[in-house]
Structures are given as C-alpha cells and as structure tokens.
Amino acid sequence: MMLTVNGKDHDIEADPDTPLLWILRDVVEMVGTKYGCGIAQCGACTVHLDGQPIRSCSYRLGDINGEITTIEGLSSDQGLHAVQEAWINEQVTQCGYCQSGQIMSAVALLSAIPQPTDEDIDRAMSGNLCRCGTYPKIRAAIHSAAAKLARS
C-alpha cells in the first residue's frame, strides 16, 4: 500500500497489522522516530498524522489514511523548525532518545495553542516520558519557541 511520509510516497509491502512505527523504522528506514514501549505509554514514537500528534507504535499500517510527518520532515533546506532551534538554544537534550517524540508533541501543541501556559504544556506533554529528566528544560524551550514564533 501507499504511505506518504514527509511529502514523499512510499510503496510498502508488509503485513497491514504492522504498527506504523516499525514501518517507518525498519521498512522505510527512517529511524528518527523511536521505539520506547510499543503501548502508547512513552511518546517516543510520536509523529503527525495530518498535523495531529499520534503514537505511531499504536497505529496499524492498514489504518493510516492521511499524511505522516516525522522528525526528519520537520526541518527543511530553509533551516530548522523554531521548536528545534529552541531545543538547541536551551540545550534540552541529555541522552536525546525521547526528544524526537518530545519535539513532535511540542510542535503540535504550538500549532494548537500558540502561547501555551505551563498547564497547557503539562497537559500536552504528559504522554512523553523522559527518563533523563529534561522536563524543566522542555518547559523553557517551549516557551521560548512560542515567543519566537509570535515575533515572526
């Protein structure tokens, strides 16, 4: 079946029961989207389906009806997404393994709520675990990305 990832069509041959996460990682071979739990508990696998954040480990390939955006599709030749720039400026990352998912959730949050409060952030980001404990930096980076997006 056809799968559109970051604007590019892929002809996928795999069992339609296969979760989108593993299609991305092992079939399309785009590994920026991470496996953490496989049961929608950690958020490491977060991607966008038509702009909405979803846990790709819990979506069957056969059920995907729309365009997928992954962390690899967030930046373009024009440069990094404002959220990624904020992540770099605030030096959010430790091991970094959760951060693709964190960034995808944060981008979705800011498109829904351009000036989120701490409570908005807590609500939108609580599905994303960070075992390294980067939460304080994540809050700061989302606020600074929001400020930057408001200026532009």
């Binding site: 069992d15 590994v31 496996y35 953490g36 049961i39 990352t93 075992r131 404990g133």
Partner: protein, 750 residues
C-alpha cells in the same frame, strides 16, 4: 602557575594516567604499561600522539573512551583534551576508540576501598593506589560511578598538552629548525610561528613529521584562568543531531545486508528452557527463521515487530527461577539476615553504641526499598556479524573490555578477532553494565554466519531481563540527650551487589561488599555513638548498579532516620546536621542550600520543607524539597540543590545532570517498584513503572560550589538525597513519616 607533569617516554605512550596515578599514590603493584591501542592499526601518515589524540592529513580525532549514556561524556572528554590541545571541539572528530587496557578507569577503584571519600590519610591513599593497580591489571574500561570527570580530568588534559607540545616540536623541524620552539604557540588547531601570528601551520600538516619524533615528556597545563572551553557554557557536540532526529543510537544502526531479530528467554531471570513449540510462529507473516539458543529462542524477521509478535506466538515450557519466587519471601529473606552469620561489614563503630542506647529516649524504625528496573528509554539491542573466525559487534555498552573477552569466548574466536564499535546510548543508568543481550545476539549470529543480525529486545523483554537495583531493608535505633542526637545505629541488609554484578564477568571480590553500606557508613557525621553494620542477604534476585548504587537505598534510610531522630529530639533538621558535621565542604552545601531555600522562613499553609544531605561518589550534595498537601494528595513544588564538585567543568551539563538526577530520584521514590511473582518481574512496561512525568516536575534550582580540591562527578550524587528530602518534606507537611519506597503506597501524589 602552570602545573608541570613529567612523563616517562614509555608511560606517556600508554596514557599518562598510569604515571600520574603512580606519582600521586607512590607505587603500583602492576607496573607494566599497556600498549597504546591506536598504534596497531595506523594508516601511513597518521600519528597517535597519545591514546587519546589521533591526527592525520584529513583531521584530528579525539578518543573519548568513556561511553556517552546521555550524560554528555563525549563532550566533556573532548573538551578536556581540546582545552590543552587548543582545538575547537566542534571542528574535530570524536570517537570512543577501541576497548583497551590503556583506558582503564582509575577513579572507579576509589569507590571500592573501605575508606570514606573524605579520608585523605595515608592508609586511604595507599588502598586507593592498590585498587588502581588491581583495576589496571584487569583492564576495567568502565563508564560508571560518576567517575568520568574525576578519572579524565588530569589524564585527558595531559594527553592534550603532550600532543600540543609534540606538534610544536614537529613544527620546528617543518621550518628547517629556523624558529626555536619557545617562539611558537598554538591557536585553534594551528602551530603559530611568530607573535604576529600569520596563518600558522595546521596540525594536520605536521602529522607526518610527528610520526618520526619522540613525543615530549614534560608539559605545562594551562592555569584555570586561561581556559577557553572548560568552565564555560559549551554547546554539546551532539546537540543538533539529537534535536533533529539525526543522532543514530545503537537501536537505529543499519548495516548492509542486516536482518532484524529478537530473542525470548525465560522470564524468570537465569531460569532454563525445557522445551518450546514454534509451529504457530513459523507460519506468521514476515517471519524468516526460528533459531533455538541456549535457554532461549531467537526469531529472525523482516522487521522488528514481526519478530516480537512471533516470539509471543511461541509456546514455552520454562524452568523455575534460581532464586526466591515470591516477593514476600524476598522481604522475609532480608528480615532474616540481620544475624551474626550474615554480618558483612562494620566499617563504622564510634563511641559505645550499646551503652548509649541503654539509657535516654530511644527511637526505632524499620525501612524498606524495593528492587528497581533501570528502564532507560532505549531498549537494549546489538548487531553482530560472524565471519569465519572473526566477530564484529555494534552496540552501546559501559563495559567494552569485558564484552570483547566474553564474546570471543562464546564464539570460540581470539580476542584480537573481535571488533567492537561502541554506539551512542539512549540512557543507561547502569543498565549497560550488563551484556547478556549482546551474548544472545552473538549466539544468533553464529547461527546466521555471514549475515549481520540486529537483535532488539522488546520493552517487556528488556524489563524482565534487567538486573535491577538492590532490594534493601534497614533497622535504625537512635537516642538523643538534651535536644541533641547522641546515638545512631543503622543496620542494613541487602544482596551483595558488587559480587552479583562482577560475578557475571567471572570475577570475585574477597571480603565485604562495599555497596551494602555505601552512602551510610561513609557519611562524615560526628555522632558520638555511631555504628553502621551491613548484612548480606542470600537467595535474592541477581542485581546490578543503578544510578547512585548503594546510596540510592542507603541515603534514604540514613537521612530519613536521622530526620526522625532530629524531630524527636526537637532540634532543627538543618542546624542539627550542621552541628554534627565537621567536614567543611559538606557544611558548606548545607549552609548554601539553606540560604537558597530561605530555610527557617514560614513556607505557608499546608506546605512543608524537608532537607537531606548525602556524600556519594566523593560529592557532597544537600537538597531541600518543598511540598504542598492538597485535597488530591501531595504536590512537589520546588527543589533546591547545592553540590560541591571541586571544579565546574561544564555549567550546562552540570545543571542538566543535577536536575535529571532529582527527577530520577523523586520519580522512582514516588511510584516505582520492581516486584516478583512466581519468579517473574511484574512491571514490564511504563504503564506499571511511570516515575515522573512533566506535570509532576517541580521547579528545580541548582548551585555548584567549587571549594574542594578534587574534581568529582555529578551524574549520580544528586539522586541519593532526593528520596529522603521528599520523605522529610512530606513529614513536615503532613506529620506522616514514610519508611517505605515507593511512597505512593502511603500517600497520593498529584
């Protein structure tokens, strides 16, 4: 006032730490220097100036042998070399290098000797020196014990300086001896030939000549005031890759021609496999091959998930667990081990505890802490390729040296024929001090000769086969007189953690296991009658090091019980700790954290503050937690932390590590435990093992103090005091004393 390091020619080549350590400690039992591992395989025109610096016409590579587990170890190690070598870490390559005895970890041994880290007496120094020699003998290239900073601080700066000075010598030859070396200086990867500067000669162009000369054996280290990179906010070398999804971790690596796989072994850790039936799994889509292994089955498939699903469809007949089957029996085994026969150590026995407890008011309590999984977000994986008599391995590990030895043995090849490529790791916290997942992959690859096999554990397999943090129990007795603590007797029972862990590498530790009492006996309190006794409990599950190791349970016991005593005595938790501490850096962190939190001021209605202090891995840390009692439960509002680390090498990383350590310590204390039923781990995914999520994360304020003489690490120390500070805060807010982890057995959190 640059410090001069004199380095004998041969020892310089093996990494100056050997000699530095030797000079510092006087002597070594084991003197023969290991070879420079980079000399084996050098292409023409490449020079390995020390085991840490490699230069050829194409560029400069810094070797950073301590694994990056997310703690920023690659950046820190690179910065230490770069500071002296005079290069920008963003313009050079950084590579973890091959496993080699030259990269052994000296600082780690300091934790294995029965002297408190505050003890600089001659006996303590000799013991540390001996431990260094033993460690060197077995070639422990380990990342752990928060030792990367302390182990690397001098070693890597000297390596950088030696390389720099040797390149200046090469530049003298390059210029036909027309310019004397003392007129030369360096800037950003160039040797400059005159004060006016000009373009200078790039290091790369000097590599050829440098191969022909003897490296210098005397170098000056830059004084701190001249540091260009260290001590300043540095951008981590991996920050862009990790913010764009481009960073490849072990689990992401793709090797030409590789197949995907997973392994299922007995959910009772270490148990046997009697039989299995894979008929259903064989016919499933995308499944290629079922491979029987020793006490396990591997599945090769077109994608990882197809392999996971197929292992779920295999019917197994598993053997029993080789340890107690039920959780309550584990607790009972601990309770039963406070006996003379199980006594493991009594490193502290000050005053006369029995007399002191015979009179006055006595406080008694029992404390518990459960097993805890490491559960880093990246499940473990490895890629192995077997070809004739060669083995190639790609994986993230904290123990490269051990891993190569074991893999070679398992595959029946020589160690020289094993190539290990150490990968970036998505968190570890001690998880990757084990190597069973790699050995399983080697077994699979032996059945698939010529094909690289990528084996990934499902989250469930990862958590079932974790070697968790020790379970532990403590009994405290104490007494006070006139509002002052005058006796504290703490007995701690747990499995022998070090012995369990190194036993899996075929090593043994004669004598007591230092982890059993770590974080308790070595606290520099001057309590008049003070005793700490360790008891070793048997027949428990195999355990391993978990971020902050012994202190993760023992600080909770010690600092919570001390707090109970202080409250019973009617004293102030901060003042009384200060009265009992004479170790100046420890007093300082308490004083500073008290100022930061304005200790003593009224926190407001329904609020409470708790304080705790711990000396772990040589780093004194004091923490204050503030909580609010709400209708729905406890809310953690704020945490203040002060830590004494000697010299602050990287402020951004310091802040991140401390905050991460607090989140780790609080989160697991709140709601995590690993328990066994029928010998199987019951918490196999994050729905049952949440720790802290962002909505629970307090504001955290941190401060680094730089008064100590030694550089100490910061990855683990903040973890220790977090749980007791929280328990003490909950007591202050609610009057309820929590003596068991996880705390949500007794209070709810919002």
């Amino acid at each position: 006032m640059g410090r001069i390091a004199t380095i004998a020619r041969r020892t310089f080549l093996i990494g100056s730490a050997a000699v530095l350590g030797g000079v510092a400690f006087g002597y070594y039992m084991y003197r023969r220097p290991p070879e420079n591992p980079l000399e084996d395989d050098l292409a023409d025109g490449t020079v390995a100036l020390t085991p840490y610096v490699l230069i050829n016409a194409n560029g400069i590579t810094l070797i950073t042998p301590r694994t990056d587990l997310g703690q920023g170890a690659y950046s820190l190690q690179a910065a230490l070399i770069a500071e002296e070598l005079d290069v920008d870490i963003h313009k050079v390559n950084v590579d973890p290098g091959p496993p080699s005895p030259a990269y052994y970890n000296t600082a780690l041994s300091h934790e294995a000797v029965p002297f408190a880290s505050t003890d600089d007496g001659i006996a303590a120094r000799v013991a540390r020196g001996l431990a260094d020699a033993t460690l060197k003998f077995i070639g422990l290239q380990i990342t752990g014990g928060s030792t990367t900073a302390s182990d690397s601080y001098e070693k890597l700066r000297i390596a950088g300086a030696v390389a720099r000075e040797t390149l200046k010598q090469a530049a003298v030859i390059h210029t036909g001896n027309s310019i004397p070396v003392d007129r030369m200086w360096t800037r950003d990867g160039h040797v400059m030939l005159s004060q006016s500067g000009g373009d200078g000669i790039p290091y790369e162009s000097l590599a050829e000549i440098a191969t022909t000369i003897e490296p210098v054996d005397q170098v000056d280290l830059k004084p701190k005031s001249e540091w260009r990179y260290l001590g300043k906010a540095m951008e981590r070398i991996d920050i862009v890759a990790k913010s764009t999804g481009r960073q490849k971790y072990g689990i992401d690596l793709q090797i030409e021609g590789m197949v995907h796989a997973t392994v299922r072994s007995n959910p009772r850790q270490g148990g046997s496999m009697r039989s299995f039936d894979a008929a259903k799994a064989e016919g499933m889509p995308d499944v290629r091959k079922i491979v029987p292994l020793e006490n396990a089955v591997g599945v090769i498939a077109n994608n990882t998930w197809a392999a996971f699903r197929a292992t779920d469809a295999i019917e197994f007949d598993w053997g029993d667990a080789p340890f107690l089957h039920e959780q309550e029996d584990h607790w009972q085994a601990l309770a039963d081990s406070f006996t003379e026969e199980s006594l493991d150590s009594r490193n502290r026995d000050d005053g006369n505890i029995d007399d002191a407890l015979a009179s006055g008011e006595i406080v008694e309590a029992e404390y518990r802490a459960p097993y805890l999984a490491h559960a880093p977000l990246e499940p473990v994986s490895a890629i192995v390729l077997v070809e004739e008599d060669r083995l190639e391995i790609w994986t993230g590990t904290q123990i490269p040296g051990f891993l190569v030895v074991k893999a070679a043995k398992l595959a029946g090849v020589s160690e020289e024929n094993v190539t290990l490529h150490v990968q970036m790791v998505g968190g570890s916290f001690g998880h990757r001090l084990e190597d069973d997942y790699v050995m399983k992959t080697v077994e699979l690859a032996l059945a698939m000769k010529g094909t690289p096999v990528k084996m990934t554990y499902s989250r469930e397999e990862d958590m079932r086969h974790d070697f968790p943090r020790q379970i532990a129990m403590a009994r405290g007795q104490g007494a006070f007189l006139d509002g002052r603590i005058n006796a504290l007797d703490l007995s701690i029972a747990m499995p022998a953690v070090t012995i369990s862990q190194i036993g899996r590498q075929g090593l043994n530790l004669p004598g007591p296991d230092p982890v059993i009492v770590a974080g308790a006996w070595d606290q520099p309190y001057g309590i008049e009658n003070y005793r700490v006794t360790g008891y070793r409990a048997d027949n428990l599950a195999p355990v391993s090091s978990w971020r902050s190791v012994g202190a993760s349970t023992n600080s909770f016991f010690h600092e919570s019980f001390l707090d109970e005593l202080i409250h019973a005595a009617g004293a102030d938790p901060l003042e009384e700790r200060l009265r009992l501490l004479s170790h100046e850096p420890s007093r300082k962190v308490l004083e500073v954290v008290g100022e930061m939190a304005d200790w003593g001021s009224d926190p407001g209605p329904n609020k409470g503050r708790g304080i705790a202090y711990a000396l772990a891995f040589g780093t004194p840390v004091a923490e204050i937690v503030e909580v609010t009692k709400t209708q729905e439960g406890i809310r953690i509002d704020k945490v203040w932390v002060a830590a004494e680390i000697g010299t602050l090498l990287d402020p951004v990383n310091f802040e991140n590590q401390v905050k991460g350590g607090i989140v780790w310590g609080l989160g697991h204390a709140m709601n995590c435990e690993t328990t066994f039923s029928d010998g199987m781990v019951q918490q196999t995914n994050f729905h049952a093992y949440e720790a802290m999520r962002i909505y629970q994360c307090p504001q955290i304020e941190v401060r680094a103090l730089e008064n100590g003489s030694r550089v100490t690490g910061i990855g683990e120390p903040p973890v220790a005091a977090a749980a007791p500070a929280l328990a003490n805060a909950i007591f202050a807010a609610t009057g309820k004393r929590i003596r068991e982890m996880p705390f949500n057995k007794h209070v709810s959190f919002v």
